[in-house]
């Protein structure tokens, strides 16, 4: 009784204690990153809060509230909700797919009347939760068995097929890479892992068939952008010019010629890092990277002190997803990766990705608050 009472008290903090345990420094870093975003959206609008910075700010405030709310909710509830959320997300992806089939064209969101829900964003979180829960419930012996890989792979493949049909290459990469990282962190045998990678090679060729012509074009353009400087390669070339001409200290706030004169495409969304690098230079770009790394580092370090495997894997899944966002985006605008349409986390204009990330941070922070909570292998409420 005593033990269970002690565990109970450790597992059940009141709301004030939880808010006190919330890492406000990380919240501040998140606000700083978002602040970078507002400033750049102000800049690319030619020095105006309209049309982007203002909207983005309001969305961020709402998202921030959601994040704190998620953070104080007990991690066991999140574990309990992992599968239901996954299947809900899968169901919504299915609905979007059917609606696309019904002739409404390529569509990625559900209009729920009061909000446009993007199921693929929802899935990024739901998949991490589902995989974390799955591995949490495995014993050591089961974890290293080959057959234990079947279910997680199915969990990954189902949404991937639906997302690729939308088609959304960026999200597909995020889901697959995030899922693989999580499986890896769960402790699957290394040789099995290498083997599955080899098995992925023919799968990649198979996936090529799934791609729409414009997606294939993007990959081909990435391989040789100068081949078609006025067409598909134009974006990458202009982005590199903007970045390179920014130099170490940049051209100055609202002074970027490439972005202000519209030579840079999609400057408020996918290519906003280019604007930062052009106007604020290498110094600006590295500062933002530094802020990102504080969050990444915090997540990785705190995960090591989490008592439950679910919590650890949840943090890792979210951190890796976050990292993939920023890595793919920045590599893409610098011409290291094809243009796949992944926004710069917390900075690019747009609500869905911001919401996903803030929910993800909420889950990381929730895990951190509840890191002492031990969860039995059978499940939180088993």
């Amino acid at each position: 009784m005593q033990t269970s009472a002690r565990i109970g008290s450790r597992n059940n903090k009141d709301i004030r204690q939880k808010l006190k345990d919330l890492n406000w420094f990380i919240v501040l870093v998140i606000v700083l990153i978002a602040g970078f975003g507002f400033a750049m959206l102000y800049s690319v609008a030619g020095g105006s809060f309209d049309p982007w910075a203002k909207n983005q700010f309001i969305r961020f405030l709402l998202g921030l509230g959601l994040m704190v709310t998620i953070a104080v909710i007990d991690i066991r509830i999140w574990m309990f909700l992992a599968y239901p959320l996954y299947f809900a997300a899968l169901g919504m992806l299915g609905v979007v797919d059917v609606m696309g089939e019904m002739g409404k064209g390529s569509q990625r969101w559900l209009d729920l009347g009061f909000i446009n829900l993007q199921p693929s964003e929802f899935m990024k979180i739901a998949l991490v939760m589902a995989l974390a829960r799955y591995f949490h419930c495995l014993s050591d012996e089961e974890t290293v068995q080959l057959k234990s890989l079947i279910k997680p792979i199915i969990l990954i493949i189902l949404p991937v097929v639906l997302v690729l049909r939308q088609p959304d290459l960026g999200t597909t990469i995020l889901i697959v890479a995030g899922g693989i990282a999580l499986i890896f962190a769960a402790g699957v045998r290394m040789w099995l892992f290498v083997l599955s990678f080899i098995a992925l090679i023919p799968a990649a060729f198979g996936a090529w068939q799934f791609l729409k012509p414009y997606q294939k074009q993007r990959v081909l353009t990435f391989l040789d952008p100068e081949k078609d400087p006025l067409g598909a390669g134009y974006h990458i070339i202009q982005s590199k010019i903007a970045l390179g001409s920014g130099g170490i200290y940049g051209k100055g706030f609202i002074q970027g010629t490439q972005s202000q004169l519209n030579f840079l495409p999609e400057k408020h969304t996918d290519f906003i890092f280019t604007v930062i690098a052009e106007e604020l230079g290498l110094v600006g770009g590295l500062s933002l990277l530094g802020l990102y790394f504080i969050i990444l580092g915090y997540g990785m370090i705190v995960s090591l002190s989490v008592k439950s495997q679910f919590g650890r894997l949840l943090i890792l899944g979210m951190v890796v997803t976050f990292f993939l966002y920023l890595f793919i985006n920045i590599a893409m605008v610098m011409g290291l990766l094809p243009v796949v349409g992944v926004p710069l986390p917390l900075v690019s204009y747009g609500g869905s990705a911001m919401l996903t990330l803030l929910v993800g941070f909420g889950l990381i922070l929730s895990t951190a608050i509840h890191k002492e909570t031990a969860i039995p292998r059978g499940g939180a409420f088993a």
Binding site: D140, A185, I241, N262, F263, G281
Partner: protein, 617 residues
């Protein structure tokens, strides 16, 4: 903690470290790439960014004017009031155009063209709605700008020839640059740029053109100008001043307006050309924006050849105006003297060949002065035969016949000053005696331009000096030519005076061919020489037929004789020479001499009034 959990944490820690390492590795690739782009390759990308944003706009210079000797413009650049529309700035393009119709008429076609252009080009680029507006219309539009969103009044320059037809053959015209005229000079590639296509506009194109300025502007990706970064203004072209006096030009052109004619007036001492007219003419303003096919076809098809400058490009048999040359050749060679006479019985024979005098009854006994005054053909058949073609050829050359002076207007013809060499080279046959007989009266192979005839007359009247015609006033040099320095032709004044007396008698002796057309005032006396040249050969059959030679009035215009006259005045102190050509005009005495007389009188009167107001040339 359960052992299973411990194992899981241990395994997790290991794998999480590996993943962190992987993320760090990937991140360092990002940082490396950033360093490469922003530090290592910075200069290269900076250059590319500048090339993106900076655009050089050429500023066209204002074309230099072409002025007459008193500074009156023959060709100038005028402010062109235009109205453009920028579709982007209108609420509805159709409505704006409709509103604009209150002030400017816009035709259905023009309306269609604007709507079509608006669909084709970027919406911030102006589309021309109307140009050449008068000031009142233009200011009306300006005042009502608030009601006309998107309408942009614009002030440009365009070439303008205020005197229209007058001087068109000298000044030529401008037009758009053709493919072949591109030299790599960027100015020529400006869409609205015009270059000289003909006449002085073409010959002096580079001087008139000026040099381009440029404006360095910042543009956005669509090419819209955001701001001007720097500017170097264009340098306007230099003006060209002509020796032409527009008043004289106008008088001469008006005097011959119903004819196909050419009048050349020259200062006999300086060689300055005061008037060079050719009628009918054309309006060079029509060429500015490309002449319409209908107008062009009309000009090209006109048998009076309005596009040709007959004064310098037209080549005609000099006819009897050539007789001074033959007379001088005879006098200088000592073949004749002023005392020698010859009897004209209307015919001249060599073997079986017969040449006729224009006077059917013959002139009777004549000396050289009388032969000139009455223009006896037989006298000059005979004299030419005696003197020989080579001496005539040599004398012609001294008086500038067969010579191209390169005065600086286009298509100056050389004419033909024939001799044996010339004929052999041309036809492979040697010169015959009969050829000389024809040349004796300015027919046959000899051919001259009205300009050459004016030069010849000037050289006769100025005491045998080799004055050269000129049409430009060179601002760099002192324009007052030292008359003493003009080279002499080496002809005795005595012989010159004999010939000049003949010319004086043409107007002033009762038997002179132009006596009826002399100036019936005591103010001035003029000298001159008429010439009537056959366009078609008179056949023996025609000559012997009942009606005799068909009269000019009974022929088609194209079959009639050319009328020529060369004159100078005043006889006591000669100043000006004039040559008149009237194509198919009929008799040189009856048609061309009154024109020469009127022009000479006008020039001298104008001289007098200029002196009176102390504005001497």
């Amino acid at each position: 903690m359960k052992p299973s959990d411990k194992n899981k944490l241990k395994s997790y820690t290991r794998r999480a470290t590996l993943i962190s390492g992987g993320m760090l590795l990937l991140s360092s690739a990002l940082v490396g790439r950033m360093y490469y782009l922003q530090v290592t390759s910075r200069n290269q990308y900076e250059l590319l960014a500048e090339r993106n944003r900076i655009s050089m706009r050429l500023l066209a210079p204002t074309r230099g004017d072409v002025l007459d000797r008193y500074g009156r413009a023959i060709a100038t650049s005028t402010t062109d009031y235009r109205v453009n529309v920028i579709p982007e700035e209108t609420e509805e393009l159709e409505e704006t155009l409709e509103a604009l119709k209150q002030y400017i008429p816009i035709s259905e076609n023009n309306n269609k063209r604007i709507m079509k252009a608006a669909k084709k080009q970027r919406s911030f680029l102006p589309i021309s709605v109307a140009n050449n507006l008068d000031w009142e219309t233009f200011s009306n539009v300006n005042v009502n700008m608030p009601d006309l969103p998107g309408i942009q009044p614009d002030v440009g320059t365009s070439r303008f020839y205020p005197e229209k037809e007058l001087g068109a053959h000298l000044v030529g015209y401008v037009g758009s640059v053709s493919e072949e005229e591109l030299t790599g000079e960027p100015l020529l590639e400006l869409p609205e740029f015009k270059i000289g296509k003909n006449g002085i506009e073409k010959v002096l194109d580079e001087k008139l053109r000026g040099s381009a300025g440029n404006s360095k502007v910042e543009v956005n990706v669509l090419g819209r100008v955001i701001r001007e970064l720097s500017r170097q203004d264009s340098v306007p072209g230099e003006a060209a001043r002509l020796t032409i006096d527009l008043e004289i030009q106008k008088f001469a052109a008006t005097r011959t307006q119903h004819e196909s004619a050419a009048v050349t007036v020259m200062d006999i001492h300086t060689g300055e050309l005061l008037a060079v007219t050719s009628t009918p003419s054309f309006d060079p303003n029509d060429f500015n924006n490309g002449i319409s096919q209908v107008k062009w076809d009309k000009l090209r098809g006109d048998i009076r050849k309005p596009l040709i400058n007959k004064a310098v490009s037209g080549q005609y048999s000099p006819g009897s105006t050539f007789k001074m040359i033959v007379a001088l050749a005879g006098l200088e060679a000592g073949v004749i003297t002023v005392e020698d006479t010859k009897i004209c019985n209307s015919q001249f024979r060599i073997g079986k060949n017969i040449w006729h005098c224009w006077s059917k009854g013959g002139h009777g006994k004549l000396n050289v002065i009388q032969a000139l005054a009455q223009s006896c053909d037989v006298y000059f058949y005979d004299l030419a035969r005696k003197v020989g073609i080579e001496k005539i050829h040599e004398m012609s050359a001294r008086f500038g016949l067969g010579e191209r002076f390169n005065i600086g207007i286009m298509s100056e013809a050389r004419g033909i000053n024939p001799n044996d060499d010339w004929k052999f080279g041309r036809t492979g046959e040697h010169w015959y005696g009969g050829d000389t007989v024809n040349v004796g009266i300015g027919q046959g192979f000899v051919s001259t331009t009205p300009l050459q005839l004016a030069v010849m007359t000037a050289r006769l009247a100025n005491g045998g000096k080799a004055v050269v015609p000129k049409i430009f006033i060179d601002d760099d040099n002192d324009n007052d030519i030292d008359i003493e320095e003009v080279e002499g032709l080496g002809i005795s004044q005595e012989n010159l005076d004999i010939v000049l007396q003949g010319m004086i008698d043409v107007y002033n002796h009762p038997r002179g061919t132009a006596f009826r057309y002399r100036l019936r005032k005591d103010d001035y006396q003029f000298g001159g020489k008429s010439g009537t040249t056959q366009v078609t050969r008179i056949s023996t059959a025609e000559r012997n037929s009942e009606g005799g030679v068909i009269k000019n009035e009974e022929k088609d215009w194209i079959g009639r004789d050319h009328a020529l006259f060369v004159g100078y005045g005043p006889v006591e102190n000669p100043k000006y020479a004039v040559s008149v050509l009237v194509e198919h005009g009929g008799g040189g005495g009856s048609v061309a001499s009154p024109i020469a007389r009127d022009v000479l009188e006008f020039v001298l009167e104008r001289d007098k009034s200029n002196e009176n107001i102390g504005q001497s040339v």
